[in-house]
Symmetry: C3
Subunit: 273 residues, 3 copies
């Protein structure tokens, strides 16, 4: 049974009231839009990344997102340290395995981070298929060449082996615990034409993980973002240029009616995979 | 006696005419909005940060801003080197001690940089209270949990011990030399919902420090920014998404009438602290 | 003979159809706007920069842009490695020598990268004059103090000695192979008031280099960008704040009529230099 719109909105209301602190160890491209999306959503972002302090900062954080987009060795060490610190405190963290599969270095990094048991993994179809070990996972750099529904079986397999909730996003988004599959519709065709919106989604999912259990957090994050993306996309009649700003506005003023009108929740196509 | 609006506008006119070069060693989140705010204001930003060249670049720069938001050891070394180079040349530099107090590493870095005698320190209430050594300085990551007027005494104490002008910003902003306290009103409730606007303010204050003595520079920077923030916020009727762009527009077209109508200058509440 | 508008538009159509993967090793300030410009144009950007993977990633990339804006030793090593990998595969790469001449470290880095034979070099007048070894090349940090037409002779000389196509941009843009000089008009006076738009232009030129030979790629990139800049600037009646977003919209919806109406192609003033 997926969450209802009422339950998603209750999670958002809770997040807004509690202003959870979300630590981001993320890529350079997405930092600004991730921080702005989190602020618009009602969370409090912080972008500390030095090995020397990520462990200490994790004591303050309510959730963490680790995103390997612009990976390098020092950052990877900090990612591991922060993830371990969250694990020790039984606090949630989200892994965004950007472009895993594109290079051996990147795949190995994603694999190492996965072994630290992220609460939630959020990626596009190519990334999830690659992380699940599927041969022939196709990506073009950071963009997926596969559709999200082609990755449902991979997502379920990955959830089972990793113990993480897995969210695979695209035209339709899916979240799974390896058994149940929840589908989320919404979003807009312009979204892939604006950089780092997937990264900012991972950050939003991390924020929800600070107020809800993992599968609910993933579902609520995907649903609120899908609704905001649709609202924003519909306002961008001239192209994707203003999409990040419109997305933040839509997150900021999201209410139950807007949510109900701009996203859809269903039980996914888990069975037929 | 605070500056008059006429004096603030004269400082802005001067800055626009002289296009001062502002070196930024700042965090990854704020680079783009800081550069855009400086360009809109009429300054010329540069973001060089490598140890190998910051000293040489400081010879060209008219002012420097050092911001520890996304700190790491190599960057800290460069910050110190650049600050020292500015000091040797008796050129102004501004310290933005982002989230000092959040981790020991960050507090130690802020403290080290403070010992290099920044011309101006600009922070939120939690940061200034922490830097002044006040117990119980409360922050949530990079966001302050205290109001700016709770930090006036800390700001004065910090100004006295450090020899720096201290600006503490929030709903009302204050600038002090440890004796006089100037208050600046303006801004907008949406500003804390858009990332790195405090960082960009520090950069703007640095730009003014290249054309005015420290306390005047801080006052002028706070006032122009407060007015721009109010103008921008009032245009953002749907949320904070377009605030950085609107802020740049407001800085770009600021004139004396807009300034007079959107910010207020007063002598602060220095006595009653 | 310069390209015709029809030929420029054919190159754009080709780029959109083939969605070339453009690897960016660029500065922190420009990452977001470069990625968004590439996406709006119809290319697929990726921002990997670690030494550990740039060589592998270069095998996937169709073009590379190397931009030294926020240079440091580890990044420079990665730039060299990626450039060499592209050279070995005879795939195109663009060098953007940001602020070369400002410090010895920066000049040496630009010079080293130039020795790796970039397909195209794109810079402002000061940068091209400095790279060509002209005494008295004047810049203010990252901004040029010389006009682009003052750098035509330097651009031709640099093209001859380096073997690269050289594009020098400003109020009018020029592209040269050392012999022929093509001029491109368009753009808008607000463009220098928005950060990193020159960097994003270099990225767009790189995208075109994946579908056209070097001089045509430079010309097409300059022309499409000049038209988009003019369209965007004319929409920004309140200042430069929304210029990056408007530029992306203009790139996204560029068609042959818009191109013809907002940029001009000519044979440059190569002779009289």
């Amino acid at each position: 049974m997926p969450m209802t719109i009422d339950e998603v909105f209750a999670a958002l209301t809770d997040l807004r009231a509690r202003q959870r602190l979300v630590q981001n160890i993320t890529n350079f491209v997405s930092m600004s839009v991730s921080a702005n999306a989190l602020l618009a959503l009602g969370a409090s972002p912080a972008m500390v990344h030095a090995e020397e302090e990520v462990g200490d900062f994790a004591k303050l954080a309510d959730a963490l997102v680790v995103n390997i987009g612009t990976l390098s060795p020092a950052w990877l060490r900090a990612m591991k340290k922060a993830a371990e610190a969250m694990g020790e405190q039984q606090k949630p963290w989200v892994l965004d395995p950007v472009a895993t599969g594109a290079t051996p270095y990147r795949s190995e990094a994603a694999s190492t981070l996965l072994s630290l048991r992220p609460t939630i993994v959020r990626g596009n179809a190519s990334e999830i298929m690659s992380l699940a070990g599927e041969a022939g996972a196709l990506g073009k750099g950071v963009d997926s060449l596969a559709a999200s529904d082609q990755a449902i079986a991979a997502a379920k397999a990955l959830a089972r082996t990793s113990g993480s909730i897995v969210a695979v996003t695209g035209a339709t988004d899916y979240a799974t615990d390896g058994d149940e599959v929840i589908s989320v519709t919404g979003g807009h065709a312009l979204m892939p034409r604006s950089t780092a919106l997937g990264c900012a989604l991972s950050a939003c999912v991390a924020a929800f993980s600070a107020v809800r259990p993992p599968l609910e957090a993933a579902t609520a994050g995907l649903a609120v973002y899908a609704a905001a993306g649709r609202i924003a996309g519909e306002r961008c009649v001239n192209g994707p240029g203003h999409l990040p700003a419109e997305l933040c506005d839509a997150l900021f003023r999201m209410d139950k009616d807007l949510l109900a009108a701009h996203c859809g929740l269903g039980t996914g196509r888990g069975e037929e995979e």
